[in-house]
Structure formats: structure tokens, C-alpha cells
Amino acid sequence: MTSSSQKPASSAQPEVIDESEIPEEVVPKEVGARDAANWAKQITELSVTDAPPEAVNLNVTGRRVVSPIQGFGRMWQKTYRVRIEGGPSPAELIAEWKTNFPAFWPERNNFYGPLTGIAPGEVALLNLAMPGRLRLSTGVLVLYADEESFTLMTPEGHMFAGWITFSAFEADGATVAQAQVLLRANDPVYEVGMMLGGFRKEDVFWIHTLRKLAAHFGVEAEPEKQVVCVDKKRQWKRAGNVRHNAAIRSGIYALGAPVRAVAAPFRRAGG
């Protein structure tokens, strides 16, 4: 909950005005929602601006975001938490997490976010480590962000369809940092990959991140994990999502690297 949700306290007696006495032209047709600034604006396709030259953008521009509804595999809710005793307030923790988001990730995993930081509507490129020294090129949309949480949503072709919410709250005198993923594997290839070690790798990823986040605040703490299978059914009608599979496309891109290296001087010479 953002601080903007707090009702202003006042000891003064409010002046009571009969609504019928207010001229129609000063009555707003729809009061703006108080969470409006926290959500990304509506978009149909993702676009990336100002990506650094080393970031590979194969599978983000032109893609739509996908919720768990559009995914293929079983639906999982995975929650990772770490208690940070004597640490910052939830708002301070989230501000720090937003600012240094990539710094807490495991090595060889790159998050190329906008210079302005994590804010609703921003798109970040991800270049992630895969087996065999391959790099998976994908991205995320910052779907929602307030003072005590932010949510990233995945595009078509990502390993999973869904979102991950990072939040902080107080519990028993400590600040708890939490990463909660609601996901389905995006297609049958990813579903098999997740069962053959992908889920374990994801656990390692977020536990590493939370451990490093706690260490950033000078606390050595072991994160805990909770896993719930929300839906055991696979959505076979979504099997065609495989056409966007970012891992397959990234693999093909990697195989083409020698050809691109040979062709590069000719491309430069040709202007």
C-alpha cells in the first residue's frame, strides 16, 4: 500500500455542502484512481529505447506482455522471503532495491534497465546465462510500482508467462523482503526445461538475490521459499506459443555469430 492511500487526518470540522448546490461544470465526471500513477500505461506492443550496445534485443521489441492466463504449463506461485532484522523501513528497502536492482543478481545475468530506474511502463532487456555459455535474450515490462512494491511482467517468448512482484513489509519487528512469482511456463519446450532443472535454477537465482539484498543492508540471513501449484492443468491450446520461444531464437542467433563476424567488415565497407 502506498502512503498516498492514507486518509488525511484533520481535527477541523468539515463544512457540509449539499451536492445539489454544486454547479454541474465543477463536478468531475470520474475521479482519478489514486493508484493511476503506479500502473504502466496501456500498450499493445513493447518497445525498447536507449538500450546499451552490449545488450542483445532479439525478443522484446514488438512483443506483447503475457499473464499466466496466456501461458502453457502448470501455474505456480513461488514466494521467496528474507527477514532483515534492524534494517531499513519497507519503503527505504524498496527504494534501494529499485535503484540497485541488477546489482543483486547472480553473475552472468544482466538487467539493462532505463537510466531513470524502475518506473511504471519502463521496459528492460534481460540477457540471462544459460547452459553451454548461451545467453538468453528477453525482457520485462515494469507493470506496477509504488513505494513498497514493484511488479515486472514478461513478454511473449520469455521462459514463463506471468509476473513477479517484489515487496517489503514489517513483521515481528523486522522488515521482510519478498519476491513472489505467479507463472506458467510459456510453451511446451520451456515446460520440459523447467521440470529438468529450470525451476531449481530459478530458486537459486532468487535466493541468491535476496541473500545479497540482505547483505547490502549488513545482514546475513537465509531466505525461505514457499511453492504452491495453483493449477495442475496445462493449457494445450497455448502450445503454439513455442513460435516465440526466446531460448530457441537466442540459440539460433548464437549459432550465427561466426557468420556475422565474417560479414561485419563487408557490411562496414558497404556503408
Binding site: 500500500m1 502506498t2 502512503s3 492511500s5 492514507q6 486518509k7 470520474e30 482519478g32 484512481a33 489514486r34 493508484d35 493511476a36 503506479n38 500502473w39 504502466a40 500505461k41 496501456q42 500498450i43 506483447r64 506482455v65 503475457v66 499473464s67 499466466p68 492466463i69 496466456q70 501455474m75 506461485q77 523501513s89 519497507p90 507493470l143 506496477y144 509504488d146 513498497e148 512494491s149 511488479t151 511482467m153 509476473w163 512482484t165 515487496s167 513489509f169 514489517e170 513483521a171 513472489q180 505467479l182 495453483v230 493449477d231
Partner: protein, 129 residues
């Protein structure tokens, strides 16, 4: 009526209340008032349980008095949708402001949750004339 007070620690206290109305044996309406966040799980689940029976074929969520929703609230709607699908029920929404309608579209919930302007239109879609 189901009422929940959400929040803890230094979080703002915000109320969520829900009424459940049955329209015949096959359709129920859940009237939502207040804030829907990740902390609303118990209240939403209770309301959904009250709204459903073995005969229920459609659950309509009335968002006319929704005051605030964050991504945690959207996640809860997805998990309720899974439960509804499992029980072969349609899940519908009406009374969304333009802002929340856009959020349903952005998060692509509108692929699976039918969105209608008002109660009359939602009831008609649910087969209640």
C-alpha cells in the same frame, strides 16, 4: 457482508468489504467495496466461496465501488479465475472505471474475464434476462 481490515506494521489501514447476492441458482454477484491488494486473499476467497455452489455457472464481480487495486490484487483475481474454470464457471466483471478497464486489458485478464459496462449487460451475458 464480509469485511476485512488490511495492512499491518506501518502500512495504511484500508477496508475491503464484499456483499454476495444470488441471482437465481446459477448466477452470483460479488459487490466489491474498497481496496483489492495482495492482502485481500482471505476476504476474496470467502466471498467467492459464498458465491458458488454446485449449481453456479457464473460469478459476476461488481467493481463500481473499487477504490484501489495493486498488482497483488490482480494476481488474486487470476487465482480465483483458475478456481472458477475448474468448476466450469464463467467469471465476469462490470462497473470498472476506464482506468481499471485499461489495467484488465494491459494485464490481459480480459482474455478470460468477460468485461461488461453494467450489471444488466453482465446478467444478460450470463443468461439472465
Amino acid at each position: 457482508m464480509i469485511t476485512a481490515i488490511e495492512g499491518g506494521g506501518n502500512m495504511a489501514q484500508s477496508a475491503l468489504s464484499m456483499d454476495v447476492r444470488r441471482v437465481g441458482e446459477r448466477v452470483s454477484i460479488v459487490d466489491i467495496r474498497g481496496d483489492v491488494t495482495g492482502a485481500s486473499e482471505e476476504a476474496l476467497t470467502d466471498a467467492y466461496n459464498r458465491a458458488t455452489s454446485s449449481e453456479t455457472r457464473a460469478v459476476l464481480f461488481n467493481f463500481e465501488q473499487l477504490e484501489y487495486m495493486n498488482s497483488g490484487g490482480i494476481g488474486l483475481l487470476v487465482t480465483l479465475l483458475v478456481r472458477a474454470n475448474r468448476q466450469r464457471q464463467a467469471m465476469m466483471a462490470f462497473g470498472l472505471s476506464d482506468h481499471y478497464r485499461q489495467i484488465f486489458e494491459l494485464t490481459r485478464l480480459d482474455d478470460a474475464i468477460g468485461i461488461y459496462d453494467d450489471e444488466q449487460a453482465a446478467l444478460a451475458a450470463a443468461g439472465v434476462s
